[in-house]
Symmetry: C2
Subunit: 149 residues, 2 copies
DNA sequence: CTCGGAATGTAGCCTAGGCTACATTCTGTC
DNA sequence: GACAGAATGTAGCCTAGGCTACATTCCGAG
């Protein structure tokens, strides 16, 4: 998945007013956001409840269980999760570390939103969408701001 | 999806355990992001160059021209744009007003990122993805922060 | 005024992410 | 220990957003 769009770089787009690259990047980043949500949620379920069942996942994400199962299949293909039929879902090393990074990023984003005066409800809600588009550079800047404030 | 205007209501999502709504909202908001980009870009092209041709749009967005044309079809279906074959693309009232709102929001998001110390390049780049997930509430908070700072 | 190249449009294919409907497996209760 | 109901899995369909390949239309040189 990370291929096609990734190497459609600036080279093909000569003297564009610095815009195509931006759009393209935003679009690419969007891919994988769903997997991140799944991994984060599964990690939550595993650490808190001890179990991550497709039905729970589906309910928490507000999708049909079939959709969740299909996406879990993708997680497996991507090497982020493992699951045997009728057993729960578990994360691989890669999955766990991704979950950790996602969770940390989420926290920073929410904190930053709160810090600039966004109400709690909106901060939590919007962060869910925003976090997938926050680059490492921006994330670092957020952290710095929060620390220095 | 026709509610690009910001009312992606909670009403559709019953009493899910406080989390599905968040995820669902982020997901829903994501729909329409592409149309917003198109409308914004078309508006730019029209006001600056005077013309918005499918090929230009495709190049600026980094997609194949066929993709751009297909999406322009969607814009027409959504009542945001009009276009006759081999003539350029133009925005309807709705399209123009959406473009204006998108542009304004984009500016606020970029300014906020800069204000908290995000480098210019990253701010411009990340804003492109982030802006589509910024609710009116959060946008208002951003504006307030920028004014009071 | 014609003709070739660029722009535009069309067709068909692919994946991701949704859904419903149906089939299968598990499991708690009697 | 059987069985109903819940959980799980499978199949097939849909739309959005991408692509390539091909067809059509436009337009500027000559």
């Amino acid at each position: 998945m990370s291929d096609l769009t990734a190497e459609t770089p600036i080279h093909l787009l000569p003297e564009e007013p610095t815009q195509a690259s931006r759009f393209g990047k935003a679009r690419t980043a969007q891919s994988g956001a769903l997997l991140e949500d799944y991994v984060e949620l599964i990690s939550d379920l595993l650490t808190s409840g001890g179990e991550a069942r497709p039905t729970d996942i589906a309910r928490r994400l507000g999708v049909a269980h079939a959709t969740a199962i299909k996406t879990i299949g993708r997680l497996k293909r991507e090497g982020l999760a493992v699951a045997k039929p009728y057993r729960g879902v578990f994360l691989t090393e890669a999955g766990e570390s991704l979950a950790a990074r996602v969770r940390a990023r989420h926290r920073v984003v929410v904190d930053l939103l709160l810090a600039v005066g966004v109400p709690f409800e909106a901060a939590e809600s919007d962060a869910e969408g925003i976090e997938h588009h926050v680059s490492d550079t921006t994330l670092a800047a957020f952290a710095r701001y929060l620390a220095e404030r």
